[in-house]
């Protein structure tokens, strides 16, 4: 076992049990049913589902996945823009997860089947390499939260090849937490914030939010013990009626964050209001290129005609899709009549089944019923 110890430090069963017992104790002290908290990160949901943590949560603790999948919340017209560019003969480079995300009528995968040229890349750096090898116009369809937005910003500041431009669908997480916590019917009593995004923004970015909404925020990492300890800290604050920002991921995150990265991010991008798929209009939720980078902005370089894609109504099936409610944390995959039946990873109906960070995809990958508390016999 010795050689595995280092790796298992944050997966130690005895510590997990102790944290589980503490969670039980604190939920009993709070005494309400249910106590709902939200995380806003696909990687948190991955770890919770992968390790079967929900089976160990107290029955009254409801851990909801909020809008934490950047691919899923890429709005339909944004996908349409990528599709329109591809159909107009421009090469579109993007992350593999974006391929099957439905647009109004077509996904990028459909556009490819119709002759559009789509390149799958793992990073913007790879898109830069692609552009250097050709004279053709290439558009990098950039998705992701502040973590990947920083990578996009850094490449832009370094100088892109002449034939490469950016279609930014980058999103910024802090504003959506405001919207979700103000939604009618929202019972969210605290937020578990994503450790990796906080390495960029710092934990301080959540302080105005916590103060304004009187909701506690705990920054947590992605190993099982990180998540259990984060939830415990959150519940203790709820019990004590506190609303502080706590950093339980100090091995990676500090209060100020990565100042160099933040500088690059805000030099290149400005926050704008825009729709997040299935959720709402999010003020300051979209990251768009500043005017001075118009020369690499695909929206300025090309005339993108998405209206021509809107001739046919969407198919019947999508009308039953409840992705929006799932991403807002109002519903869970098990509430969806399509989940695991008409909607599977191979032929997804909604965005949540497409992306490896989508709630439905994650639940499907780990047995479909991640909450074994509902399965006890």
């Amino acid at each position: 076992m010795d050689k595995q110890l280092a790796q298992l430090k944050f997966r130690d069963p005895a510590r997990a049990r102790a944290l589980g017992e503490a969670l039980n104790r604190v939920t009993q002290e709070i005494g309400r049913d249910p106590i709902s908290v939200m995380h806003v990160c696909g990687s948190h949901e991955q770890a919770i589902a992968r390790y079967g943590l929900r089976a160990t949560f107290p029955r009254t603790l409801n851990v909801i996945m909020g809008p934490g999948c950047p691919v899923c919340i890429t709005d339909v017209p944004e996908v349409d823009e990528g599709v329109a560019l591809a159909l107009a003969g421009v090469r579109v480079a993007t992350y593999g997860d974006m391929l099957k995300v439905p647009g109004t009528k077509r996904s990028l995968a459909d556009a490819r089947a119709d002759g559009g040229r789509i390149d799958i890349v793992y990073s913007i750096a790879q898109a830069v390499d692609l552009a250097r090898d050709t004279d053709e116009e290439i558009v990098f369809f950039a998705t992701g939260f502040e973590t990947t937005a920083v990578a996009t910003a850094a490449e832009i500041l370094r100088g892109l090849p002449k034939n490469l431009s950016i279609l930014s669908a980058h999103k910024y997480i802090p504003p959506v937490m405001e919207i979700v916590s103000e939604m009618p019917g929202s019972r969210v009593e605290g937020f578990l914030a994503a450790g990796h995004a906080a390495t960029i923004t710092g934990s301080a970015v959540f302080e105005p939010f916590a103060a304004r909404h009187k909701l506690p925020v705990v920054v947590a990492g992605f190993e099982p013990l990180d998540i259990l300890a984060g939830l415990l800290a959150l519940l203790e604050q709820i019990r004590d009626r506190k609303h502080d920002v706590q950093n339980l991921f100090p091995r990676c995150v500090n209060r100020e964050g990565n100042l160099v990265a933040q500088d690059k991010l805000w030099r290149v991008f400005e926050p704008q209001g825009g729709r997040w798929r299935g959720i709402a209009h999010i003020p300051n939720g979209n990251l768009r290129l500043r005017e001075e980078f118009a020369n690499v902005d695909a929206r300025k370089r090309f005339k993108i005609d998405i209206k021509s894609l809107w001739e046919d109504a969407p198919s019947q099936l999508t009308q039953h899709c409840i992705c929006g409610d799932i991403m807002s944390g109002i519903a869970a995959p098990k509430d969806c009549p399509l989940f695991g039946k008409a909607c599977i990873p191979d032929s997804p109906v909604g965005a949540c089944m497409v992306s490896s960070e989508g709630t439905c995809r994650i639940w499907h990958q780990y047995g479909g019923v991640p909450d074994l508390r509902e399965e006890q016999r």
Binding site: P13, Y51, A55, T56, P224, D346, S356, Y366, P370, L372
Partner: protein, 338 residues
């Protein structure tokens, strides 16, 4: 059936989709013969009653990219795959193997001879020979390199099926899992991972012969395509039992653990070519483990789970820090993108 439905790669990945295809196309309407374990049983091979035992027949086609990978090659795979399918039915002394080779025009003789040497080596280890065969050559581009098909025939008095587990039986795996799949995946995609990822491809008939002498084995299956997850789901649902697996008890090499973590692929969904999953009566576990561990191929055998009366056909996985259901793989595992 959906209109214009086409076969896709998932139909060959060893999971639910493959079983659906076999059931829908090949089993539907096939005549069952009383007393014979045939197509409809979807076991590792067929068993025909003969004298005081059974004649077991199995066949397997082999395509692998790349044809040579750390720990083995397509030739070794073609022999071991068929020998192991026979062994999983309790037939550990192959009477004969056949081999059909379909070769692409332009294929180098040298490579073919290398594959042939490797097949002979595997036959020596398994104590069998290829007694008859067939060769076809197809035009350039009409087939990818070489496809090998092998058929095996063996006689057994101790037929073992994949559906005999009862509540209380233990699940044993004969060694560390997922070596083959990761070795091929890394070689195929030229992923720059450090560490010695080697296929486990090996004939299991001698090992199985030793454990069957001890008795108490209620079911056997080799977790090839679809990995342990697919095999255990099939064994559990055919046996009408549930299974509880202890993830931390499942043996895994450090290299494989690291590759799985980096690539985001669950080792339980990844192929093995030299491992068996056994259902074993609780009172026979010690004797079977003893026998396994006395053989080089079973040295790291471990008890990884228990059969239950509850949740038939479903596999609960204890992760050490929680518990979840194990999903059946329904496609080729691909590296996670982000």
């Amino acid at each position: 059936m959906k209109r214009n439905e086409r076969v896709s790669m998932k139909h060959g990945a060893g999971g639910r989709a493959m079983r659906d295809l076999i059931e829908r196309v090949f089993i539907a309407g096939a005549k069952a013969i009383p007393g014979v374990v045939g197509l409809a049983e979807m076991d590792d091979g067929a068993a025909i009653p003969m004298g005081d035992g059974f004649l077991v027949v199995t066949t397997d086609s082999h395509v692998v990219v790349p044809r040579f990978f750390p720990g083995g090659d397509i030739g070794r795979l073609a022999i071991c795959g068929t020998v192991n399918d026979l062994a999983m039915m309790g037939a550990t002394e192959p009477l004969a193997l056949t081999c059909a080779a379909i070769i692409e025009e332009g294929f180098p003789f040298e490579e073919l001879e290398r594959i042939q040497r490797s097949m002979r080596q595997a036959c020596d280890e398994a104590g069998c020979s290829v007694l008859t065969g067939d060769t076809k050559v197809m035009g350039k581009g009409e087939i990818d390199g070489v496809v090998l098909n092998t058929t095996g025939v063996a006689f057994t008095r101790t037929l073992v099926r994949d559906n005999g587990m009862k509540a209380g039986d233990r699940i044993i795996v004969t060694g560390p899992i997922a070596d083959h799949g990761f070795a091929v995946l890394v070689a195929r995609n030229d992923l720059k991972l450090e560490g010695d990822l080697r296929s486990d491809v090996a004939p299991l008939n001698e090992l199985v012969r030793m454990i069957l002498k001890r008795g108490g084995v209620t079911a056997m299956k080799d977790p090839t395509r679809g990995g342990v997850s697919s095999a255990i789901h099939e064994m559990a649902s055919k046996s009408g039992v549930g299974v509880v697996l202890d993830e931390q008890a499942i043996p895994l090499r450090d290299e494989v653990r690291a590759a799985a973590e980096v690539l985001g692929i669950d080792p339980l969904h990844v192929a093995n070519e030299g491992k068996a999953l056994l259902g074993v009566r609780a009172d026979a576990v010690d004797a079977v483990l003893d026998a396994l561990r006395s053989h080089p191929l079973g040295r790291e055998a471990a008890v990884i789970g228990t059969c239950t009366q509850s949740h038939p056909g479903r596999i609960r996985l204890h992760t050490g820090v929680g518990e979840r259901l194990l999903a059946e793989p329904d496609g080729e595992p691909l590296p996670r993108i982000c």
